[in-house]
Amino acid sequence: MGRATHAEVASAIEALAREPGEFVRLREFAKNRIARIGPWAANGRTAEELLQIAILKVLEGSRTWNPEKVDLKGLLMGAMWSTASSWAAHHSRNHQSPEYALSESGTETSASDGNGRQAFDKLASQSPSPEDELIRMEEARERSEIADQIGEACAGDEDALAVIAGLEDGMSLVEIRDEFGWEDKTIRAAMRRIKRRTERVLEGRGDQHAVR
């Protein structure tokens, strides 16, 4: 396992190009991750940018690659997952901990007595500001509303509703399939419908939520 060479990555990309479905999969996955973290944490970054960052992480070696264990497509999806996740974590910490936001903005400093101290100790509140709290609540409210709308869009589709309920309870797709004694094709068909309806819901909420 190690750093992938430029030639190895270039040749893996050309191999993927022979299967157009795999490129479409990468785009769908990137869109999904941007939707997952929401427009607040994505902060204007698009699915295309997420994919670009993932491939650059592979090329720069910050994402190691063992081609015997995972193909480039799997590697890129892993890199996109963790990158989007870190954006969301960063966004969440910024809103929940002003102390973190200050240190991230580079204003943190150490006092000459050796005790770490915030540059604006006297000014910074140690708890989220009312404005941050409001943004966080608004975000949570919107996310909950979107989840409700996805459920509504699946009304009458018993399999899809069962899958959604299972996912909301923290079950994996395999666990849901086994729980209902379904075949693979049944859960796949339900997921296809859920995916399509989820995208429609997000698109219907306007530019802010549409996944580019």
């Binding site: 190009a17 999969r25 990468l26 799997g74 909950s144 994996s172 296809r192």
Partner: protein, 139 residues
């Protein structure tokens, strides 16, 4: 992952479906969603190619910068060294004698001019050439 809420869990489920679904499903979904899968695949291909190209250019620029820095170092050092390969060879011999470093005559004569330069650079970095007179005719 932050936002471990209902929406997050539904979208994680969709992500796992995208990961595992057969390629035909993915292509069919794209068609049903009204996008042209081939155009979409081409866009992704272009995105990856652009990233490859920008990385290649960045690496080239990095290598060029490193080469220029190294060349500059050699030029600076070369200024203090005898201009001729024979002179540099004599200087190396003298420096090695002073440092009580010995090489068999055969080994010494097998050193290429480049080897001599590399050895002199290392000795210069160690300060072993300080106060060492240049061989006659090479000053």
């Amino acid at each position: 992952m932050p936002f471990d809420d209902r929406l997050g869990r539904i979208l994680d489920g969709v992500a796992h479906y995208i990961e595992e679904a057969p390629a035909e499903d993915i292509l069919e979904n794209a068609l049903l969603e009204g996008s042209d899968p081939h155009q979409c695949a081409e866009q992704v291909h272009n995105t990856l190619q652009r990233a490859l190209e920008s990385h290649r250019k960045a690496k080239l620029a990095e290598a060029r910068k490193a080469y220029q820095e190294q060349a500059q170092e050699v030029r600076q050092l070369a200024y203090q060294l005898p201009p001729s390969p024979e002179g540099r060879r004599r200087l190396l011999q003298r420096a090695m004698e002073r440092e009580s470093l010995t090489l068999q005559n055969r080994e010494f004569s097998e050193l290429t001019d480049e080897d001599v330069l590399v050895q002199l650079r290392s000795l210069a970095e160690l300060g072993s050439l300080d106060d060492l007179d240049l061989p006659d005719g090479d000053e």
